[in-house]
Symmetry: C2
Subunit: 236 residues, 2 copies
């Protein structure tokens, strides 16, 4: 079976580890992947350059959509508003709330679904995982179930058979993502996590901490260069 004859997926992708491993996971299952990314004015926009590297390496199409107008409208998050500090430390309910962009995933998934419907693709895919659930309500299974229902109802008569949302790691962890990526030979050095968006990963923000921890727990060597010394997180 060639890639073109199998099912097709539109994957919202950030250039981070989660969506990149999801892309490789879909491709490994014979699914034709289109990467869809969004420029919403995030300060870690460097992630989009990393995504471009993944698209080239995988040889899959990458569509980038300008949502900077939406980003400006919803400013107030540490991710888009330079006046809000990116918090240090582990993911936790309090510090990470500043990194929530209101209704971000629904906005992105809605656009991805529009593209999937317009092109007759079966799958709208997303790299959310269980570790996101605590902080981000729009990464939880209950949200996906309801959104899937809204998509099926709202596009009735315009959908291909078996149209669905898929988030293969929704009930897994970031450690599972590292393990699956390692198994699939994902070049992790071509992924970007840091919310600060500097020249190299800062090593101390929430996503850097989470990234380091996932590699450590998976027992897999982390190829990432961090500005802060390795183990800085553990010392806190």
């Amino acid at each position: 079976m060639t890639e073109n004859s199998g099912p097709r997926a539109v994957l919202i992708a950030s250039g981070g580890m989660d969506s990149t491993v999801t892309a490789y996971d879909l491709a490994a299952r014979g699914i034709g992947v289109t990467l869809l990314s969004f420029d919403y004015g995030q300060r870690h926009r460097v992630e989009l350059e990393y995504l471009e590297k993944t698209a080239a390496r995988m040889g899959v199409p990458h569509e980038r959509v300008d949502l900077t107008g939406v980003g400006r409208l919803l400013a107030g998050s540490a991710l888009t508003d330079a006046s809000v500090e990116v918090p240090d430390g582990r993911y936790s309910d309090v510090s990470m709330r500043a990194t929530v962009v209101a209704n971000r995933n629904m906005i992105m998934l809605s656009v991805a679904a529009g593209l999937a419907v317009a092109r007759g693709a079966e799958i709208v895919a997303f790299g959310a995982h269980g570790g996101d659930h605590v902080i981000y309500p729009d990464c939880r299974p209950g949200f996906f179930e309801r959104l899937n229902g809204a998509l099926l109802t709202g596009n009735e008569g315009f959908l291909v058979d078996e149209f669905r949302l898929e988030a293969p790691f929704l009930n897994g962890t970031k450690v599972d993502i590292v393990r699956r990526g390692h198994q699939l030979g994902v070049p992790f050095e071509l992924t970007w996590s840091c919310y600060r968006g500097g020249a190299v990963h800062c090593g101390t923000c929430g996503t850097c901490s989470e990234r380091q921890e996932a590699f450590a727990l998976a027992g897999i060597v982390d190829p990432t260069r961090y500005a802060a010394p390795a183990g800085a997180m553990v010392a806190r």
Copy 2:
């Protein structure tokens, strides 16, 4: 009660009759309205100038968001793609399918919800009515129920009390909208319906036909100037 102390709504507004009457209806109920419009490359972009007139007349804020990148991505609809003809005639299942932009309302409502969440507004409002149900699956009550559920779940912990989607005419008709607008003194001449987006309403496309019919059935004089002679629709 001043406008500021009451509930607040973010209304997705097009400059058409339905959303304009919805804006006046919300305001009449003491709700502070913010109009939110989208430039998605629609050929009837003139509607946005009409919306600006309504915002000025009502003295309410109007936010316009550039979604032209999304419009380009989802091209293929008669509304955004100049190579697709706008169909003439009444709304009907076959001819009007060309005017469907994939998942459009979910995309717009998602952005509106993001703005409502970011600003602590209680209501995301929409001017859909019963006459839209036949053609547009994303104007049907079942879609709104599911989307409302997804919004409440996906933004859990970030919502003000009584956050909700509201579409006051969802179970009504366009005739009800004309009657309510007339009752509220809505200046219908400041609204735009025509999908062709010429200098005046064409009088023959689906929305022009629907507009003329609604005024006729409501028994209210239609102040709109049409390019085609009045009654052209009836002759078909």
